[in-house]
Symmetry: C2
Subunit: 201 residues, 2 copies
Amino acid sequence: MARKPADQAVNRHDILIAAANVFRRKGYHGTKMADIAAEVDLTAGSLYHHFPDGKQQILREVLTDGLAMVTAEVQAIVEDNTLTPDEKFRKAVYAHIMALAQNVSVAAALVFETRNLLEDQSARDSYLQRRDSFEQLYRQVIHEGIEAGVFRHVDVPIFTKALLGSNNWVGVWFRPTGRLSGEEVAMEIADVFLNAVLIKT
Amino acid sequence: MARKPADQAVNRHDILIAAANVFRRKGYHGTKMADIAAEVDLTAGSLYHHFPDGKQQILREVLTDGLAMVTAEVQAIVEDNTLTPDEKFRKAVYAHIMALAQNVSVAAALVFETRNLLEDQSARDSYLQRRDSFEQLYRQVIHEGIEAGVFRHVDVPIFTKALLGSNNWVGVWFRPTGRLSGEEVAMEIADVFLNAVLIKT
DNA sequence: GTCTATATGGTGATAGAC
DNA sequence: GTCTATCACCATATAGAC
């Protein structure tokens, strides 16, 4: 399926989006280079012009770009120290879920395909490190809330895992055509976790 | 690696556990029949004696048995109407997470490999139907709590998805050798979600 | 930058001996 | 019930024309 107005040259980004779409339907190993190529009206061989290292490179860049996108959203909020801890937490969760809901194919890849980042150990390690840094952002926000006396003394690592599990899962089940919009889902889940930590006055 | 005292015949269950272990390390498509066979000291060809339909059948049975195990734990609690809504909810979440933490390989398969249940449409549909029934159990518990006036008026489907996301995710990150035991993790997460719904008095 | 054609390697599954 | 040997197929990646 063409994603561009007729016969316009495809670029790297088009291919990465196409790849994420196919990965979501068939999984990384179930996806043939020909499947990705067909999605952008190319043939399998042509993909190697854009990605010399082949399928692994495509996966690597889908994940790297996807994680960078999600991180950017959340990091901006976490670093904004004009916000109170509970505002910061709510906005971070909201932005995180919105980013995933607006890119479900990439979001699903972040959940399901990270495990297939096998080859190129160094690229794999640097990706996992950035993923840990992302998780660290949330831990920091929760920690700040506890220190400020507005959050309960939850176990920060476990609470963070619970939150990440819920949020990541949105990328698996959310459909833009569903009952609720991305905004509504993001609000509701942010509300759930804020209620879970907030000390009621 | 042998899982049995020397040279004892393997049975279906041994193979399913072995398969789940390999799936967790390599993913379904990354797993060769020879890998599963090696885990129980057999050769690839021998597996077809136990599972005539091959790799798909092994996956299907790993998931079916795994889901049945998890469902059994939770269902017993949901049907126990001597419990108050909040007790019922806490025990259900606790039991669910414990079941996953005690079988991480199967738990990971339930998250990552369901998507690979491609062939045999009827088997696939019946599995997905049972998974929906499991989700329905949680919705029911939450609904009961709201009706009883002890839970907030959360959006039940979304709250349930958030809870399932957190719980499923335990099967992805939990390691028995980690800082906290399965019991501690289960308690903590049950606490998080109970705090999220409970109306504070 | 995209194509076609093909080399290459690998894996699920089968057949038949033991 | 498990083995060995092998078939048949498929997908990644490459080479070179256009």
